[in-house]
């Protein structure tokens, strides 16, 4: 990312040991530690019920942490009501005020700050230009399309120049095409303004596209915070591996450990894998292999892991072939091979060899499956 230069290492937003419980018994958020750097685009990613929206609401001030501290710019915001936190917020259903024109909606945060009419007009005009809706000041929100309304909502959250903008699944109500368009739009705005954005979504692809870093949440706890690429390539937890992108999983027992590499017995096979979790000999483990890292009919000896497999079925998906394989007694092992010349060498029902390098195969802690 080319924004590195503007970032400082001091955290701008900080969650320290934050817990939240609504009923005093079950925890929605547990011991959350999270830091957001200035100018960063951080996404809270997780399935529904993972506590990501609660985190956002605590940050915005609409919920109070049961325990722990939230700091913005180094100062605790515990005592600050939402209106005094100076945070711009974009809601899932836009929350535009239907009885005001677009212009009045945008002027609202300026008006409550006592900014003069002339400047209000100027800043509203600038904000609309930023979201490419020049000249729509006098429309009513009801007359706009969903995408336009979302742009207005974003412009309204930015018009008073907050240091921090929160977005709560802002694209959830849009159709797929519009969503993709808006993703790039949001990224463009972030890059041109350098504002800090905390973004909530359950859509991992969206998180990948937009974020500098992604925090994967699960059951009120952070599973992993990392840049999108690292998250994909180097998941630290089985849940993350499963949640981000597609992953093959094999269960086994650690037979031996040597440095970063461990040998794992699964069925009749022994697989060499990268030891990510703190595993010892005899531990149960889950192996995670990306489908696109599985080689079909590799040249013998190229990979230190080689297994026999049977092709259950093959699906042609344009740029790649998706092959479902029977491996180690299971039948849901997936391999993707690019659509290049010569892919037609295998056929359904064939018995083939597959292989991968130990570093593409990550040995993780066994995870309970309920959130899968």
């Amino acid at each position: 990312m080319d924004q590195d230069a503007t970032r400082s290492n001091r955290p701008y937003v900080e969650f320290a040991g934050v817990c939240k419980s609504y009923d005093g018994r079950s925890m929605v958020v547990t011991d959350l530690d999270l830091e957001v750097r200035k100018g960063e685009f951080l996404t809270l990613l997780g399935p529904s019920g993972s506590g990501k929206t609660t985190c956002l609401m605590m940050l915005a001030g609409f919920e109070t942490p049961t325990k722990g501290v939230i700091r913005i710019g180094g100062r605790s915001v515990q005592a600050l009501p939402p209106r005094k936190r100076g945070i711009g917020m974009v809601f899932q259903n836009y929350a535009l005020f239907p009885h005001m024109t677009v212009g009045r909606n945008l002027a609202f945060p300026l008006e409550v700050r006592g900014i003069g009419k002339t400047e209000q007009r100027e800043r509203v005009r600038r904000a609309l230009r930023l979201v490419r809706l020049q000249g729509l000041e006098d429309r009513n929100p009801g007359q706009l399309s969903g995408g336009q309304q979302q742009r207005v909502a974003i412009a309204r959250a930015l018009v008073f120049e907050p240091g921090l903008v929160l977005m709560d699944e802002p694209l959830g109500a849009l159709d797929r095409q519009l969503r993709e368009e808006m993703q790039y739009e949001i990224r463009r705005i972030h890059q041109s303004l350098g504002v800090t954005i905390v973004y909530v979504t359950h859509d991992q692809e969206e998180a990948m596209v937009l974020s500098d870093r992604v925090a994967v949440l699960r059951g009120g706890q952070v599973e992993q915070v990392a840049e999108p690429e690292a998250l994909y390539e180097e998941p630290q937890r089985s849940f993350v591996a499963r949640f981000i992108g597609e992953n093959n999983r094999l269960h086994g027992r650690v037979a031996s450990v040597k440095d970063d590499i461990c040998k794992v017995e699964t069925g009749d096979e022994v697989i060499r894998a990268l030891r990510v979790a703190d595993l010892r000999e005899g531990d149960e483990t889950t192996l995670s292999i990306r489908p696109e890292r599985v080689a079909v009919q590799p040249e013998p000896g190229l990979y230190s892991n080689e297994l026999d497999a049977s092709i259950e079925d093959m699906t042609f998906l344009g740029d790649h072939l998706r092959i479902r394989l029977g491996v180690c007694g299971g039948t849901d092992f997936i391999a993707k091979i690019p659509n290049v010349v010569g892919h037609g060498a295998v056929l359904e029902g064939d018995r083939i060899r597959i292989g991968w390098t130990p570093t593409d195969c990550r040995a993780l802690n066994v995870d309970d499956e309920k959130d899968a």
């Binding site: 915005a60 001030g61 609409f62 009501p81 939402p82 209106r83 005094k84 936190r85 100076g86 945070i87 711009g88 917020m89 809601f91 259903n93 929350a95 005020f97 239907p98 009885h99 609202f108 945060p109 409550v112 700050r113 309204r156 959250a157 008073f160 929160l166």
Partner: protein, 408 residues
């Protein structure tokens, strides 16, 4: 075969006619129960042919009369002749004429009845002598003026009466004698009381509606039921319950005395006055305010208030600039509903209003129901009330816009 096919392929009536046929029963119902009575009310308030039909020549003879001195002999002769004719034809008619004239001039009922009865045997050479011989009142201007005035087939006098105005011989339209002026006072009081009750209902109903519309669904039902409970109770029962609560020896006063807030001999007058009218009517009408407000508020997303707060608005400003404007349609609908209902109330003010809580509808009911009936005046008052409501509706439309109204 081909013709049958054609008949089968095309509907019997055109869609438009069929739609008309479907709404026809409703149309007829509205016509019969709403439009027709309104038209009849209006007609009755301006059309009063009874005297003109009974005494046509007398009325004709009084045309062009100067109203300063008793009329010429022609009028006396016409009246003497026509009174006898009317009596001979239908004795009940004499009473009707007398009562109608009595509205203009007290004493005419008896005067006309006596005169009609005694005319045949009255001594005197001319009609004038006979009539004045029966009662000297026939020599005064006022009695003749009553005939002239009531003899107008189409008349504005009921509207004049309804506005505390009167016609006097030789003076034209003047204000009613001071100690008989009542309708303007009651009309304006009705207006103010209704506005006051509407405001009170809004003040009380708004937070209630807000509470209900943002409560959890299961509690919402309970709260709504509580609001609707009064609807299941008869109006009379609710009104008399307020008497039990508010009267001098009632629950409220007993409690205040019990807590030592007021002295036993300083009990508050809470009923049989304006306070009673306000309390009871507000209670009865409150649901009509709460329900439209509730339905509007329910449609306002809670996230709007969060959005306003995140944009920097204080709770008051968020309410005033974001929430309140969005409830205006409900406020308008509820307000109009309560106001119009309040304007027509008469049982409640009659029971708890005492002397100072009487409203125009009580007067209308009295003229419609109790002797001496004056349905024409009641109609005129009704038309004025309707016109007042109509004018208000227009003002409301200008200010808020009727299309924005939301009843539920």
């Amino acid at each position: 075969m081909s013709s049958r096919k054609k008949a089968g392929g095309r509907p019997l009536l055109s869609p438009r006619l069929r739609a008309l046929a479907l709404v026809l029963p409703l149309l007829l119902f509205i016509l019969a129960t709403f439009v027709a009575p309104l038209a009849e009310m209006f007609r009755r308030s301006v059309h009063d042919p009874l005297v003109a039909d009974a005494l046509p020549e007398t009325v004709a003879a009084l045309r062009g009369w100067d109203q300063l001195s008793p009329p010429g002999d022609a009028a006396y002769e016409a009246l003497a002749r026509e009174l006898q004719e009317v009596r001979a034809e239908n004795r009940a008619r004499v009473g009707q004429v007398g009562r109608r004239l009595n509205r203009v001039e007290s004493g005419m009922a008896t005067l006309v009845a006596t005169t009609a009865r005694e005319l045949a045997a009255a001594p005197g050479a001319s009609a004038r002598e006979k009539l004045i011989g029966i009662d000297a009142e026939w020599g005064t201007v006022d009695k003749w003026f009553a005939i002239q005035s009531a003899g107008q087939r189409f008349t504005t006098r009921y509207y004049l009466n309804a506005l505390d105005l009167d016609r006097r011989p030789g003076q034209g339209v003047v204000r009613q004698e001071e100690n008989r002026r009542i309708y303007l006072l009651l009309l304006s009081r009705t207006l103010w009381v209704s506005l006051g009750i509407t405001a009170l209902c809004l003040l009380l109903g708004y937070p209630v509606a807000h509470l209900i519309s943002h409560a959890r669904p299961e509690r919402q039902n309970l709260l709504l039921a509580l609001v609707l409970v009064p609807f299941w109770t008869s109006l009379l029962v609710r009104t008399t319950s307020w008497i039990v609560l508010l009267q001098n020896e009632g629950l409220v006063n007993d409690m205040l005395v019990g807590f030592g807030l007021i002295a036993d001999d300083g009990r508050l007058a809470l009923v049989y006055n304006m306070i009673g009218t306000f309390v009871a009517m507000t209670h009865v009408l409150l649901p009509f305010m709460v329900l439209p407000l509730y339905s509007v508020m329910r449609s306002i997303p809670a996230v709007h208030m969060k959005a306003a707060a995140s944009l920097g608005a204080s709770p008051f400003r968020a309410f005033w600039r974001v929430y309140w404007p969005q409830t205006l349609s409900g406020v308008g609908a509820g307000g109009l509903l309560v106001f119009i209902l309040a304007i027509g109330f008469y049982i409640t003010p009659a029971l708890v209003g005492g002397a100072s809580g009487e409203l125009i509808s009580n007067k209308i009911a009295q003229h419609m129901q109790t002797s001496p009936l004056n349905r024409e005046l009641a109609s005129a008052l009704g038309v004025l009330l309707l016109a007042g409501v109509g004018a208000l509706y227009v003002v409301y439309d200008r200010l808020v816009g009727v299309d924005k109204m939301k009843l539920g």
